[in-house]
Every structure is written in structure tokens, then in C-alpha cells.
Symmetry: C2
Subunit: 445 residues, 2 copies
Amino acid sequence: MNNRPIQLAILGLGTVGTGVVELLQNNLDEMTRRTGREIKITHVGTRRNRTDIPTDIKQSADLLAIIQQDDVDIVVELMGGTTTAKEVILAAIEHGKHIVTANKALLAEHGNEIFAKADANGVKVAYEAAVAGGIPIIKILREGLAANKIDWLAGIINGTGNFIMTEMRDKKRDFADVLAEAQALGYAEADPTFDVEGIDAAHKLTLLASIAFGIPLQFDKVYCEGITKITQQDVRYANELGYRIKHLGFAKRRILDSGEEGIELRVHPTLIPKQVLLANVNGVKNAIMVDAEPVGQTLYYGSGAGAGATASAVMADVVDMVRALAETNDSTANLVPHLAFQPETLNNTRILSSDEMITGYYLRLQVKDDLGVLAEVTRILSESKISIDAILQQPAHDDTSTDLPVIIMVDPVVERNMNEAIAKIEALDTVTDKVIRIRLDELMQ
Amino acid sequence: MNNRPIQLAILGLGTVGTGVVELLQNNLDEMTRRTGREIKITHVGTRRNRTDIPTDIKQSADLLAIIQQDDVDIVVELMGGTTTAKEVILAAIEHGKHIVTANKALLAEHGNEIFAKADANGVKVAYEAAVAGGIPIIKILREGLAANKIDWLAGIINGTGNFIMTEMRDKKRDFADVLAEAQALGYAEADPTFDVEGIDAAHKLTLLASIAFGIPLQFDKVYCEGITKITQQDVRYANELGYRIKHLGFAKRRILDSGEEGIELRVHPTLIPKQVLLANVNGVKNAIMVDAEPVGQTLYYGSGAGAGATASAVMADVVDMVRALAETNDSTANLVPHLAFQPETLNNTRILSSDEMITGYYLRLQVKDDLGVLAEVTRILSESKISIDAILQQPAHDDTSTDLPVIIMVDPVVERNMNEAIAKIEALDTVTDKVIRIRLDELMQ
């Protein structure tokens, strides 16, 4: 066994990169007690020279030079972005370096190519930090639940979105108002599109779904709906009905009527029962609920972002690699396939179109104060084989409105039927506005 | 790479053993897709012959013969007990077999000896199933959080106890009544001592503390208090004050006034705030909250017992071993030390006596309806440097009583001071009964 220190190059010294440098300074003893081998940063890739890091670490802006150095075993990519990061990672793999990255966008969009290249070059790409920050969900799915058949998972995997939904509920504030605060607090970017439109969650869901089901990464097939249209009114009605609205990523395996297997990949606001743990995950926290056979339902909760949580995940990957390298001292070392399943066994299970997805629904209609309207609406739903779970006619929260809101909750239904029914309902004279629809899931086994 | 199947001997065919056999039948394809290598049961150790398992599996009651067979790579011990199980495991280790076990009592009490022997013989003993059933908490602590310094953990790690506490709260039933139901449902044994006195939780806490802090297993130093004295009255007062009573195992690292580091290992009923996730873990479910630096607080939830959850954990260990064996094909293979830290680096950090522990407290006093009594009680608390967080004087729930209950919640205090104060309070003429004391923890960072 070769016991020289394992040498890291850290590319990118933003919040997370700096967090990793600090973590190694603070917890090196604890890590060495665990691994039996020292871990050392030899290079950092940074555009401008930094005076706040140890002087024995070489600094350079020339990333393609760093990844070729002999005193680098593992390249830790923390730059973000999908252009330079991709180029540098592919080059590092060609030079036989192992990769640790937090870059969910890069892997969701180009992971199939990157993992294939890594396998061909006998190196590993680890990405615990790419999903749900400090929660070791990649390890849990790839290893901890390795004996299970995973049926579905549902996750709060974007902290910004969850902060906004939590504030809207607790403080009765509007979306735009909370978003502005999230930006001021640094939870949301100046351009919040990735967070509030669900793109960041879709990147993470892409990774989770692959390692749960053993399918290639297919970001372009994720159905993605943001939280920008959620109103205070719906948050309150949901609450009165015993639900909370959460922005969730779902990956679900289903047997279709044809007998074929299909997979739903979807990110959207969802009403879930108040009393389930997932509904009680507040603020910027993340959580993933997994339903698997035979373990049943398990849930994993923690910080999804921030320097400390992300550095924790990055260094957990490094520790895994140190252990593998210490054991075999060869560059093919690693025991877990990139996407949990052996590459040649990945399934081409069809990712279902949104038309084919099945979910419950919360519907809010604005209707004229006319007794006949409910009869017409229930007839339309029944024609589309949609079963009503509850109807609630409420006085308008907004006193200035002359119309009445009607809330209808329906049992899980194929989306095609729902679309058809809503088109008919919106065509009624007595329905005065577009139907508001938010998906609903009881999260039961 | 040697690709012959990995061969298992399953010792013990009770609920869990049968669950493992079934899991391998149901999910073998899924596991083989993950590992790239077949897993096969070649032997089962069972007292009476079983007709419900595949005929190609050899059955025998002679465990010491089974563990010597050449067609056994991994011995899976699911018998329970600490006598035969210990003898068989030590013999298997001597014969160069890897061990997977769900036996928390055996490891908590004899793990130091067993792990030392395994290390000396170049084999591994895996025990994911020994703590919290299907929640992969051993992997999470040993690997997922490997870069962290763990400050404390608090766990609901006995499902029977949590079922009883949940029913007492939700249905306003008494301890004895719920216990009888738990026994009827098969959640509790005919002799429920291990569960309701906290011994089972103490076994699990022993294991968790070692891998969290890097200390030897020290079951005999765990402070252990059961739930048998919790009354309906205290459950209700706790609820009125915004708390729930949970039976928790705590492992906590502290710097003492002397500058020395000390560790608290304790199992006891605890008031925790209603809104924290841990307070919302109901029924037979388990959950462990971990507070670590830099990841912050994370929580892990799932089924703590039952055939499916336990089999999931057992087979996760097997899959880990299969991966390690496939990679290196030698019997020293394994990348994670038994107790998370390298054996020679385990610390002899002192386990604190109960006198030295620091927790908040809920106190319930029965007092004569005399205004002076509160002044006396607060003076006594103040003399022992105990800071009062809240006082609540309530009408007695029990109308037949002439005395009044007084509830006092105090901030964290060294137990020695609390004992001293309570002795003085109980000596007061105006205090008519023993003081009821239940620990309290806000679970804040």
C-alpha cells in the first residue's frame, strides 16, 4: 500500500471551493483518522491570486495545465457552468485523473458522455455534491439501498424554491415579494430562472432518476413546471384543505396498461398532506423521500446548499476515492458504477410524456354564483373518468370579486383526460376564468 | 477479476432470515445489474428443515460446520443472542469468512473483540442492519459524513418505544394499555424489557457513538432510562407546552470546563419541540438526527425493524462486500474501518457519568395550594444555578386530587446540580410527592 498523501487540485475558489479549503484545514485530522492516509491540496485553479489560502498550495489560472500535473490525483471541479468545466473535466479524464464535481447542470446534460469517457480511461467521476448538498443521497441510493427495487422518489431539491414556498405559507406573502427577499439574502441569483422555473431541480432529478432506476441521463425528457404562478390564494386554500404546496421533483416507475414499463420524470408544485415529514421541511432545507421494495419509505433531510454542506459532500467523495486508491493503488479503483448500475445494463425504459403522467389534482375555478355550474362541471369530469375526492365552495378571499371560487380535488388521473376536461370546463359560460390546476399527491405507499 | 457468484451462508431463518432469502429471489436481477456479479445462497443454518426455500440451498443445524465450507464467502448471522452467535462468528472469522450481522446486542457488548479478531484475520464484519433497520445510517456516518466532525446525534432507534409514545399521545392511552397492544401486534416481545427499558436503544447508541466519534464500544457506560414511568398526565402537559415526549438516544461530544473532552451517552425520554422533524416521527418508525461540522443538521428516517427493512440493510452490506471482492479478489478487501476510524486512532475520550451530563428539564411538582411554595422552589433552583425557562401552574387534570401540579421547565444544567435541587425541593413540607423529572432538549444548533 502506497501511503504518500492523496493530492487534490481544486478548480474554482468561489464559496464552495473556499469551503473545501477550509474544511481540509479544520477537519484533516478527523479525516486522516478515518482514511489512514493524508489528503493534501497541491493546486488551486483561480482567476485572481488569493492571499487567504495556505502558501504551499500552487495557484494558477491555467486549468488545462493544472490537470496535467503529476502531483494531482484527483481534480475537484467547483467552477460551475457547462462549457469550460466540460472541456477541463474531459481533459483531466484523458490525463488519468479522478474527478469530483458539484456540477449538476454539466452532469445532467453531458454526464452520459463524461461517464463513458471516464470508464474508458479507468477513472471515476464522483458527484455527491451535485444533488441535495450535504445529504449523502447519491451514496444512499447507489449503495445504501442497493438491494432494493426503487419504485419512486420525491424530493425538495431546490432550497430557494422551498424557501419561497415556506415564506408564502408562513408569512402570507406573495411570490414576487419573497423572491426579492431571497435575492437580497443571497439564496436566489439575480437571474432566478434556474431556481424558480425548476431547471435546477430538473438537473438534480435527472441524476437521481438514473441511479434509482438504472437508466441513462435524460434531462431533456423531464417535465418541468416552476413556482412563479403559485398565488397566495392557492397556498391558503391548500392549507384549509389540510395540504401544503411544495415544489417537488418526482421520479416514478410505472407499469402501463400495455404492460410496458414507463418512467415519469417531473418537477412541479404539488399539494401534499400537511402531516407527512416532507411537508414539514421548511426554509432552504432539502429532503428526499424514497419508496423502495423491500425497505419501504425512507427520507433524508439536510442543507441542500451553502459552503459547508457542499464541501462536506465533496470531501466525502474524496474520502471514498482515498480509500479505494489506498486499497488497490491503481487507477481503475472504484467499486460503485457511476450511475449505480453497470453501464451495459442501463435500461431504455421509456420516459413518459406529460400526457401520460398520472397525478391527483387540485383545481380552482372561478364561477358565476349559479347553482347549475357544479352539476355541469361534475358531469364533464365524470365523462373524462375523473373521480372527485372533495369539492369546496368558499367565500372569495378577495371581497371585491363577484365570482365565487370553487375548489375541486380529484383522484389520480391520466393527464390527457385532465386536459380534455379542463378545456370543456373553461368553455362553460358560467366559468369566468382559466382553471387553476396544481398537482396533488398523497405520498402514500 | 473473478466472476464466479459470491456465496452466502444464512444462519438463522426467522423473520429476517426468511426476508433475506425472499429479497434475493425478488431483486437478484436489480442487484446483479448494480454489482456485475451474481449473489447466491449456498447454505442456511436452521434448526428444523424448511420446505419453503429453494431446493438448491443446503440446510443444516450444524452452524460450525456450515461456516467452514469452501462454498461460503460471506456468513450472514441472523440468529440473535450473544452466546452461540458470538462463538459461530468468531469461528467463521478464523476460517477467513466475511461476516454480515444484524446483531446489535452482540456487537455493542463484544464488538471490540470481534472487530479486532476480524482485522487480525483480514476479514470484515458489516452491520448496517444492527441499527435503525432499513435506514443506511452506518454507511451515512462512516462514509457519507466522513469529512465531518460530528458534534452530536439524537435518535429514535427503538420502534416499539416510539409506537408506545405515539399512541399515548394520539389516543390518550396509558403506557400499560399500549404496551399490551404492541405485544398483540408483534411489535413488542412477551418480555418487553429490552425495548421499554431502553436496553435495545442503548445497544444501538453504543454503535452509533463509536462510529461518530471514533471511540471503542462502551455499552456499559451508557446511561439508560426507559419509558415505563411516563404518564398520560406528562404527555398532556408536554403537549400543552409545545413539546412531545420521545424516547431518544443521545451521543454528544462536549468540552468540559477543565478543557478535557467528554462524551455523553444516554437513552431517556425527552421533551422536544413539536415542530422539529424528529418530533413528527410516529409509530414504529425510526429516525436519527445528526449535527456535524460543516454539514450542519441532517436527518435520516425509515423503518427500524421488520423483515423487509432489515433484509434491505443486510443485502446492502453484502453488495458492498461483493464490490470490494470483485475489485481486489483478496480477503483483506474493504475500504471502511469497522468503527469508521482506523483502529489505532480510536480515542479514549472519557464517557461522562450521569452526574456530569447537561440537559434541560421538565419538572412536575405536586404542591399544596400555598402561594409561598413557588418562591421557595425558585430560590432552591437559583441556589443550584438552575435557570428557569417557564413555570406553569395548571388545574389538576385529575379532579379528585386536592394538590396542584406545577410544571417548571429549566435551561440546560449539570445533572449534579439538578439532583441537589430536587432533593431540597422534595424535602419541602409544601411539596407533597416525588418530583417527576423528564429531560428536555430544544435540538437547536
